[in-house]
């Protein structure tokens, strides 16, 4: 037991003391948060040159109000900050009223297109003559936005709103309807997404809590991603570590001091320690961040212990498989080949999480989360979605995972014992099975 701890401590230090570990520990959230930071930084760097847009209004009733809206936007909405810090962060949209240059609509469009090609204008909008009449010929009742930069859709998105507002107003007038009454009559009422009510200790019926997207989707998803990451950082380096001991013949010396099973368990325990360290750092960081932002109530405190428990099991289960691979192969390339199927098992929950989040209590979700290789990630995820799941489910899941882990550790122990001393070419999968069965 003492020797196992010596191995575990060395393994832990070897993993945690490397620069790569510290860098990846810091880098992972930086990479995730980094894209947001970059977007914020880049927002100020957008091109704020005026965008000229020609509007050909065949109805002759819309242009003025759209131009007014554009002026309003150019004066108010494109700035950020106040006082001295006030600065323009979006381009001005400069509208001009275009006239039909020819009786032929197609010729007119061609002429306007040429102006875009010559860079006189950025885009042009054609408002069909019949847009105000509700039952008109669709071709004549269209609004077309033409430009030579199809991915820039800010103008198109913006102009739709003032056009629509003015068209609606004119249509209501034509029908002799009061705009205020219509607005009131057609106002949409949102459906609130609430939890259940219950009776508290004082006998009062509690108010149902407003459910929240953050708690319902992002927290469970975050927990699953964290578990995935921790298993990847914690378990997969065991392949390298065992391969190093094997190829450098360190294993021979180690086995002269400690029985193979204890050696393997020592390495596994070391990596469980590493993975718990990573999880602690991230969970503590998340808690601090949520607490600072006054979102403390969303921290999934009730599943943290289950998370730690399932995560340790996951590292043991997958770590044992990775150790077996490291012991059975003779070089990196072979290791990569054998790692692929294990990786698929690790990644598998990623493919089904959407179904599980949407219907955490469905029997499909239950079945998926009782499949041992996926249990740690999916079960914790289901536990984190309010209102949680009956306690027998994580208990059953844990029992199955423990059983699978024992099986993996047992099989890996046998492969490890033979493989670690084998030199030359790596073992075939059939050979590995024979080692496991024969012992």
């Amino acid at each position: 037991m003492r020797k196992m701890i010596v191995i575990a401590v060395r393994e832990y230090q070897a993993a945690v003391r490397t620069k790569a570990f510290i860098v990846s520990l810091v880098l992972m959230p930086v990479m995730m948060g980094g894209s947001i930071v970059v977007q914020v930084l880049m927002r100020d760097k957008v091109d704020i040159k005026d965008k000229r847009v020609a509007v050909l209004d065949y109805t002759n009733q819309l242009y003025d109000s759209v131009a007014t809206a554009a002026n309003e936007r150019n004066n108010k909405e494109i700035f950020e900050g106040g006082g001295e810090l006030r600065k323009q962060v979006k381009p001005r949209f400069v509208l001009e009223k275009a006239e039909a240059s020819s009786a032929d609509a197609a010729e007119t469009r061609l002429a306007l297109s040429e102006r875009v090609r010559k860079d006189e204008i950025m885009a042009f909008v054609i408002v069909g003559p019949d847009v105000l009449k509700p039952s008109a010929d669709p071709a004549l009742a269209a609004i077309d936005y033409h430009s030579n930069s199809p991915t820039y859709d800010d103008i198109q998105n913006w102009i739709a709103q003032p056009l629509h507002a003015r068209i609606q107003q004119l249509r209501l007038q034509a029908a002799n309807l009061d705009a205020g009454i219509v607005e009131a009559a057609t106002r949409r009422i949102p459906v609130a997404n609430l939890g259940l009510v219950s009776r508290d200790e004082a006998g009062n019926i509690t108010k149902a809590e407003q459910t929240n997207k953050i708690a319902n989707v992002f927290v469970p998803l975050g927990l699953m991603m964290l578990m995935f990451m921790v298993v990847m950082i914690g378990a997969s380096p065991l392949v390298q570590s065992v391969l190093e001991e094997k190829t450098l013949r360190i294993a021979e010396v180690l086995l002269g001091s400690i029985p193979p099973f204890q050696l393997m368990m020592g390495k596994l325990l070391g990596m469980v320690g590493v993975s718990l360290t990573i999880a602690t750092v991230y969970l503590a960081g998340t808690f601090y961040a949520l607490w600072q932002a006054d979102y403390g109530q969303f921290f999934p405190a009730h599943v943290v212990w289950w998370f730690a428990f399932f995560q340790a099991l996951a590292v043991l289960m997958y770590g044992a498989l990775f150790i077996a691979i490291g012991a059975a192969v003779s070089d990196q390339k072979e290791a990569q080949n054998l790692m692929t199927p294990v990786m698929i098992l690790v990644v598998a929950p990623m493919f089904v999480w959407v179904n599980v989040v949407r219907e955490p209590s469905a029997s499909l979700s239950l079945a998926l989360s009782l499949f041992p290789p996926a249990t740690p990630m999916l079960m914790v995820m289901r536990q984190a979605i309010p209102p949680g799941i009956p306690i027998w489910q994580p208990l059953l899941g844990a029992a199955l995972v423990i059983l699978t882990t024992l099986l993996c550790v047992f099989a890996a122990g046998r492969i490890f014992r033979v493989g670690i001393l084998m030199q030359g070419k790596g073992a075939k999968v059939s050979e590995m099975f024979r080692w496991v069965l024969r012992g």
């Binding site: 191995i7 060395r10 001991e245 190829t247 450098l248 013949r249 002269g256």
Partner: protein, 311 residues
């Protein structure tokens, strides 16, 4: 008392018989040398003693330190494998502490320092293994094998690749181990080292034991059939002298192996006829010579020249 007893052990790898029906006994407190050509089964035998390899079908007897257990792990044995390896990213001091703790040794601090000093590695104690030269790494690995003060030390070619100064340091360290009561087994290709250091020499050739005993007893078996001579004179070819079976030219000296019936006085007389004899010594064959006799069959032309000489 024998610290290792092996009886009738065979180990095959596929078709290849690495060790064939081997028996050996290593007395406590001795330095026991393994010699033999490359690929003859030295390392396999050492690994069998270490219980890293198990003999075919579990047959034969392997008793090490009075135990016949199955596992390799034994805190009373220190082992330096043939192909060296240390964790590259670990500091020297940490590695030695790791191996000491792994052997259940707790008072390692003083030992680590004194061994590092002895091997001239004190300044390197806080460097990583990857910064070491090959020779230094080898010394570190030697220390890691003996740090816990094992009763039995098994060293697979400990001197290979060391410069003469470091080889001397290591040799003294091995002799001290014995002085302190440890039994040492090592394999080597250096016959001079084996001659000088080993109480008992064991030679294995193609998986079979061919020599086992003290240097004296081995040399006795081969008799005093060797002459070392130095003759001044041109055109001197000792091969033409009747009774000379083999000539090894060392430049300044020539070593002649003579057949058993030949009278050395006759040879001397022949030599004097060839030129001025400045050195004439009757001696036992060196271990080197014995090794070569076993491991390399006499070349054909030597036989041919002997026949012409007889004619």
């Amino acid at each position: 008392m024998n610290i290792i007893e092996i009886e009738n052990v065979t180990k095959t790898f596929g078709e290849h018989v690495a060790v064939n029906d081997l028996s050996l006994a290593v007395p406590q407190g001795s330095i026991y040398g393994f010699i033999g050509p490359n690929g003859s089964g030295k390392t396999t035998t050492l690994r069998i003693i270490m219980r890293i390899y198990h003999p075919d079908g579990g047959r034969g007897v392997i008793r090490v330190l009075g135990e016949t257990t199955h596992g390799a792990a034994n805190d009373r044995i220190g082992y330096l494998p043939e192909e060296r390896g240390l964790y590259k990213k670990m500091k020297i001091r940490d590695i030695l502490r790791f191996y000491a703790e792994l052997k259940g040794c707790r008072d390692f601090k003083g030992r680590v320092n004194s061994w590092l000093e002895r091997m001239g590695l004190s300044e390197w104690a806080d460097k990583k293994v990857e910064a070491l030269s090959k020779g230094m790494a080898q010394k570190v690995q030697f220390i890691s094998a003996v740090i816990a003060g094992p009763e039995l030390v098994i060293l697979d070619e400990p001197f290979t690749g060391l410069d003469p100064v470091n080889a001397d340091v290591l040799r003294e360290a091995v002799l001290d181990l014995r002085k302190n009561g440890s039994t040492v087994i090592f394999s080597t290709h250096d016959m001079a080292v084996a001659e000088r250091m080993c109480d008992l020499i064991f030679m294995i050739y193609k998986g079979n034991k061919v020599l086992d005993g003290t240097l004296e007893s081995i040399q006795e078996r081969y008799g005093t059939d060797t002459l070392r001579v130095k003759v001044e004179g041109n055109g001197f070819d000792p091969r033409t002298i009747p009774g000379v079976e083999k000539v090894t030219d060392f430049g300044k000296l020539q070593e002649l192996r003579i057949s058993q019936q030949t009278d050395t006085q006759d040879v001397l007389a022949e030599l004097m006829r060839c030129g001025r004899v400045t050195h004439f010594e009757l001696t036992t064959p060196s271990l080197h010579d014995i090794f070569v006799r076993i491991a390399r069959p006499e070349p054909k032309d030597a036989d041919a020249s002997r026949e012409t000489a007889h004619a």
